[in-house]
Structure formats: structure tokens, C-alpha cells
Amino acid sequence: MATFGTLSDRLTATFSALRTKGKLSPADVDGTVREIRRALLDADVALPVVKDFTAAVRERALGDEVNKALNPAQQVVQIVNDELITILGGQQRRLEFAKNPPTVIMLAGLQGAGKTTLAGKLAKWLKADGHTPLLVAADLQRPNAVQQLQVVAEQAGVAVFAPEPGNGKGDPVKVAKDALKHAKTALHDVVIVDTAGRLGVDAELMKQAADIRKAVDPDEVLFVIDAMIGQDAVSTAKAFQEGVDFTGVVLSKLDGDARGGAALSVASITGRPIMFASTGEGLDDFEPFYPDRMASRILDLGDILTLIEQAQKSFTEDEARATAEKFATDSFTLEDFLAQMQQLKNMGSIKGMLGMLPGARGMREQLDNFDEGEIVRTEAIIQSMTPAERRVPKLLNGSRRLRIAKGSGTTVTEVNALVSRFEQAAKMMKTMAKGGMPQIPGMGPMPGMGGGGGAASMRKAAAKKKGKSASKSGNPAKRAAEEAARAQGVRPAPSGASGSGFGLGGAAPAGDKQPTADELAALQKFLGR
């Protein structure tokens, strides 16, 4: 959706003339509400939901409760974000297990929503939790759906109940009933019933789904819906609610770039909570659903929280503190640089990380050109140095550089670039560690810093990198991490914790996973120019 820019960009544009105004006039609000409406429609939120939603936002924006501390654009984004989270369900709901096992979970949805894959993921997830799930092949419609479930079950290492070969033969209601008996005798405590995909308008198949529901009396009926679905989410969700009355929703294919407005539509129209998100083709790509993160995604504010969480997993506070001290005392060496880079690698794919940043959706092309191999090459260069050279880069004369280039299979130019980049980075980090704030927008009155903000500078960084043959890989990622931390309102303390030179350690103690109003405001400030 890059072509349309993010909602925050547009809001910023709408309000550029209103900077000095302290309060929103009805006309301002109307303009903003129009932008929000468009953004929501672009994100595939269903029209009736958009209408209710914008009406609610309008009312609140004109009300007296607005936060006087924020500028108008920030106020509106805050209101929108609050409302989104409210609709998406303030908190997550867990699966409910039956008092007398087996617990029966039934899956339903359109064709191609991802039910069979989800059945495997859910089974694997439950198995890891100490349950003994049984997968039931009640999709006898689609050719070879039964085989697919068998393969998935094997991959997940769980049992499967498939008495019928499928391909249009057999009675799914009977299969489901027999599965319950089988589960009781074979002592499975959870039964997951995979049903055939069906369209909301197909009365006959909806009745079949209702019959399966009646036959097995499930504790949970999960409605699996594709995150890419458009306006049809409303009629489909309504049809399934009337047909099988699901108890929870699973959003699939969230690893794509769909903004997932369907989540909002379904939650708002049916009032059922979204319980899980499915984020890839591997059986482990499955996670509980976080409403606040989804709100950010719909508004394209980026999935900062996930990023921070991942960072927290890889960086400990102590490590960050040690690094910060090294910066401050000028004892940061290429060895530390290498260690930092390896830590970044532990966080997973750099591309994936960058993708979570606000506005990053527009960077797809640059991301694609981002070569993870650069890191490997940089590593090779550093590892081809002697320990003395790593500690004192000044030692590196021409012949040493040539040796290193040969040893690492690179060129002298690349070695040169790495060394100069390291020196620049060390210098910048030092300034920051001492409490200085070079080139960070949105951190207070810094006139002239205008366009340097957030996504724009990231894009520049990425683009710049593309041009050079030498690896620049460490930098944008680190910068990304810093910006993420900063966006959360983490300011460098004067003490050692100013490890926010690498931001991540500093973010850890904040600990609070819910974005507070302040954080969102800071985030918005960071996004605005």
C-alpha cells in the first residue's frame, strides 16, 4: 500500500497548515475523518464498520476529552488507535478447554483460508503445551484434503483420524461423531475437526457445517479468515455466524503485506474475539493475536512492539550497558563490532526486522535489494584480521589490508569501506553515549531538522547502501533498532544505560508491552515531520 503513503503521512499533510492551532475545529475534523476513512477503506475495512468508526472518531475528536498536550494530528491518531484497539477486543482470549475431555475444536471458513494448515499448527502448539491432540479429517470435499491433513499431522507429530478417503465420498458428520468416540478410547484430550471450505452463500454446505457442529458439540468453533479478504468479510462472517456460530476468529496469512482491515470488520460485526494469527507456512508460524499490534498495522504504524520484543530476546541489558561504556570510553573495537553484528543476526532476518518498522511497507524494493550476505562478508573481513588489528584499526596499512582482503575473499576497497564505516559509527556512538543527540528528529525543538524524520531517513539509508559496493549492512538495522527504541519514548539516561546507542538494551527495562498514550504520541511525533 506504499503508493498511498501511510495514514500518518496523510494526516500530517492534512494538518501541516494547522500546526499552531491548539484545538480542532469541526472543519479540520471533517478533513481528517475523510483521510481516515480512505485509509481504512484502503486497508479493506468493511464500509459499515468504517462509517460507524469514523462517526465515533469524529465525535470524540470534537469532544472535550482530547488531550491538550498533543497537536491535532497526534490527537486524532491517538483517538483512532484507541478506538481500533477497543473494537479489536481490548484483551486476548485463551482457548477454553472442556471440563471433561476431550475438548472439541472445530475449524470453519472459506475455501483457501488456510484451515488445514492451521489445524496442523494448532495441534503442534497444543502438543507443545502437553496436550494430546487428534486431528479429524472432515473435509471430504476438496480433492486430497485428507492426505494433506495426514501429511500435516505427521509433520506436527500428532495423531490423525481419517476413516474416509475424501474426494467427495463419505459423510463428514459421521466422521466427526466417530472421531469423538475414537478420541475417548484412545485418550486424546483435544479433538480438532478440519472441515471443508465453504462459501457463505452455499446453503447446503452451511447446513452441513451446522450439522457437524450439532453432532460434536464443540467447545470452540474457530472461524479461519484470510487477512487479505476485502469487503466480503462482512457477508461471509455474518453467514458463518448464523450458520455455525463461531466462538473465535483466526486471522491467516498475516505474513503478507495486507493491512488486515478484515480483522476489524469481523471483530466489529460479529463481536467475536480474534484469538490467533497465522503468519507463515511453517507449522510454528502461529501466535496469539495482539489487538494493539493489529491496530498499528491497519494504520501502518509498524509493528514496533514485536520488534522490541525480539530485540529484548537477543540483547540483554548488561550487554548493552557494557557496550555503552565501551563507546563512552572510546574502547569500542572491531571485535565488539563483530559481536554486535552477530547479536543482530540472532534477532533473525534483518529484512524481517526492517519490515516491522513504521512506513517500511514502502521500502519493499530496498528491502529486497538488501543482501543478508553483506553481513557474512563483513564478518569474514573482521575475522581475517589479527586480534591486534581488530583492537587497533590504525595498524591497518596497505599490505595488511591486502592480506585481509585475500583472506576474506573480498577486495581492498571493501576492507577500506568497512574500516571507515566502523570509525564513523564508533564516533557517532560515542557522541550519543555521552548524552549528545546527533540527528534525531522529534526530540524537542530542533528547527531545520524537518524532513529528516523516521521512515524517510531510513529509506535514504537503505537507498544509499544500495549504491555502494561495500557492505553497509550493520548500520541500517542498528539505526532501525535505535529508532524503534526511541519511538517508544526511551530517552538515553545520562548514566551507562545510555546503551540506547544501541537502543535495545535501554528499551528492555521499560518492560511495559502496551503502548501508552505517551509512547504513541512520541511515536507519532517521530513519524511526523
Binding site: M1, R38, L41, D42, A43, D44, A46, L47, L110, Q111, G112, A113, G114, T116, Q141, R142, P143, N144, A145, Q147, Q148, Q150, V151, V152, Q155, N167, L199, G200, V201, D202, A203, M206, D226, M228, I229, G230, Q231, D232, A233, S235, T236, K238, A239, E242, G243, K253, D255, G256, D257, A258, R259, G261, A262, E281, K351, G355, R364, L367, D368
Partner: protein
């Protein structure tokens, strides 16, 4: 149950009112947005219609309805929906994101072609998803087409594609259709794999058509899908599936308009005969009855 053709329903009420007023325009906008045309196309169509209404000074909603249908039809008909399958063998590569109905479409397409007396071989280059090969083989059997299977699980899809085309050449088969694994357009590595598949096929024979299958229930993300697949696989035509449900698939108009890639086939059910060529006036008429 869902209300069926929602745009149709919304418009029926709308065009029953005696004159064109503000409500008419509001309802029209609602109907267009509800059919997944997206805010851009909706705005364009509305502007165009407002201009026409002003120009012809009409107040009759029936005129508006006719103009709407014509406007949509004209937009839909902007590109040529004919399939070019004149090479022998004509190689058709089918691509798309997960769960849009690629395999089902191939089954129906093979039946469609065998119905015209063409010999068809399908290549199961979806070596990733569990049981995808069997699913395709079942369809091929129903359609009376031959099938080329991978020799082992997880074989390189490009090599299966190559073998399929080779098989078609050796056995003098008219058309080779190659199934690929579903992939989200954001997975750069998987998208590159498609590029490899096309390069490898082209060593043997030029590719006649690369069909991108789009799920009719998709929203505005369909455009992002199309753009990514055009870039990595050189898509030459669109197939819209699952139009037998309550979804209108209005987003395909936006896709066609912005990418210039024509819609070529329409899938409307799980039966083997439920695939038709794309005819703009039929599609427009189903949107605006």
C-alpha cells in the same frame, strides 16, 4: 445467509427512486466501495458519472444506472481478454498467493481445453504444500489430462516444470499447464524462485501465458499481489476465482486498470465446468443488473 449480489441489491433500491439526489450518490458510493472497487476507482467512476449526468441534464436514475454499467464495461473492456495458446506446445504457468485456487483452476482449465479436443499435460510443480501433487493428479484425472509428478518430495519446482514441457514436446501434447506452489508476494526468495522456473522453461519453449490467480474475495491487497507477480513472473493474464460467493471482486478492475494486465478467466465454483472466459459486458451486467 449472506445477501447474495450485494451491489445488485444495493443498486436495485437505489434506482427505484424517482430522481437523482444526494442520497442516490451516497448509495452509489456505498455500493461501489462495498464491491471492493476501492476508494480510487470509486471516486473516478463517481466523478465521471456526475459529469455525464450534468452534461446530459438527466434526473432519471435509470439513465444513471445505464451510464454506470457502460462506464464499468468500458473500463473492463480496455484490454484484450483472449488467451494466446497458438504455440505448440503452449506452456501455461499458473501462479498466485496461497489458497486462491490455483490447483482447482488448473483442473477446470484442463477440462475446458480437453473439451475443445486439445491434449493437455499438467505439471505438479507445487512440491511444497502437503498433498498438492495428489490434489492436482485427481483434477487431471477428472479432466482427462496427463500429469507429470515430481520424482521425490521437495524436488526443485523448476525441474518439474522442465520435465513437464519436455514431456509435452516428446509426446506431441498441445498444451502444458504448470502448477506452482502458493507464495505470498512479500516472500522475496519464493518470488525469485518463480523467475527461475520461467527461465528454465524458456530453455525448451517460450511461455505462452503466465496466469495470475486472484481470489475474488481479496480486497485492495490484490493490487500488491499483481504488481509483485508481474515483476517476478511476467504475468500475462488474470484469473479471478470464487466469484460464486457473495464477493464481487471489484478490485480486479483496479488491478487491470493499474497494471494493464487483462482479466482472462473467471472461476465460479468447485465443479469442473465452473470456469469461463472473461467477457466484459457479462461481468459488468452481473455487477449492475
Amino acid at each position: 445467509m449472506a445477501e447474495g449480489w450485494r451491489l445488485g441489491g444495493a443498486l436495485r433500491g437505489l434506482f427505484a427512486s424517482p430522481t437523482i439526489d444526494d442520497d442516490t450518490w451516497d448509495d452509489l458510493e456505498t455500493a461501489l466501495l462495498g464491491a471492493d472497487f476501492g476508494p480510487d476507482i470509486t471516486e473516478q467512476v463517481l466523478d465521471e458519472l456526475r459529469a455525464s449526468v450534468a452534461k446530459f441534464k438527466t434526473t432519471d436514475p435509470r439513465d444513471l444506472k445505464r451510464m454506470l454499467r457502460e462506464s464499468l464495461e468500458e473500463r473492463l473492456a480496455a484490454h484484450d481478454p483472449t488467451l494466446t495458446l497458438s504455440n505448440r506446445p503452449a506452456v501455461v504457468l499458473v501462479v498466485g498467493v496461497n489458497g486462491v485456487g490455483k490447483t482447482t483452476t488448473i483442473g477446470k482449465f484442463a477440462k475446458f481445453l480437453t473439451g475443445y479436443g486439445r491434449t493437455v499435460v499438467v505439471g505438479a510443480a507445487d512440491t511444497f504444500r502437503a498433498a498438492a501433487v495428489d490434489q492436482l493428479a485427481t483434477w487431471a484425472e477428472r479432466a482427462g489430462a496427463q500429469v507429470v509428478r515430481p520424482q521425490h518430495q521437495g524436488q526443485d519446482p523448476a525441474s518439474v516444470a522442465y520435465q513437464t514441457v519436455q514431456f509435452a514436446i516428446d509426446n506431441n501434447i498441445d498444451i502444458a499447464i504448470i502448477d506452482t506452489a502458493g507464495r505470498l508476494q512479500t516472500k522475496a526468495g519464493l518470488m525469485d524462485e518463480l523467475g527461475k522456473v520461467t527461465r528454465v522453461i524458456e530453455k525448451l519453449a517460450p511461455i505462452a501465458e503466465v496466469l495470475l490467480v486472484l481470489d475474488g474475495t481479496t480486497g485492495q491487497n490484490g493490487l500488491a499481489q499483481a504488481e509483485a507477480f508481474i515483476e517476478s513472473a511476467g504475468v500475462t493474464g488474470l484469473v479471478v476465482t470464487k466469484l460464486d460467493g457473495s464477493a464481487k471482486g471489484g478490485f480486479v478492475l483496479r488491478v487491470q486498470q493499474q497494471t494493464g494486465i487483462p482479466i482472462k478467466l473467471i472461476g465460479q465454483g468447485e465443479g469442473i465446468g465452473d470456469l469461463t472466459g472473461f467477457t466484459p459486458h457479462v461481468f459488468a451486467a452481473s455487477l449492475v443488473p
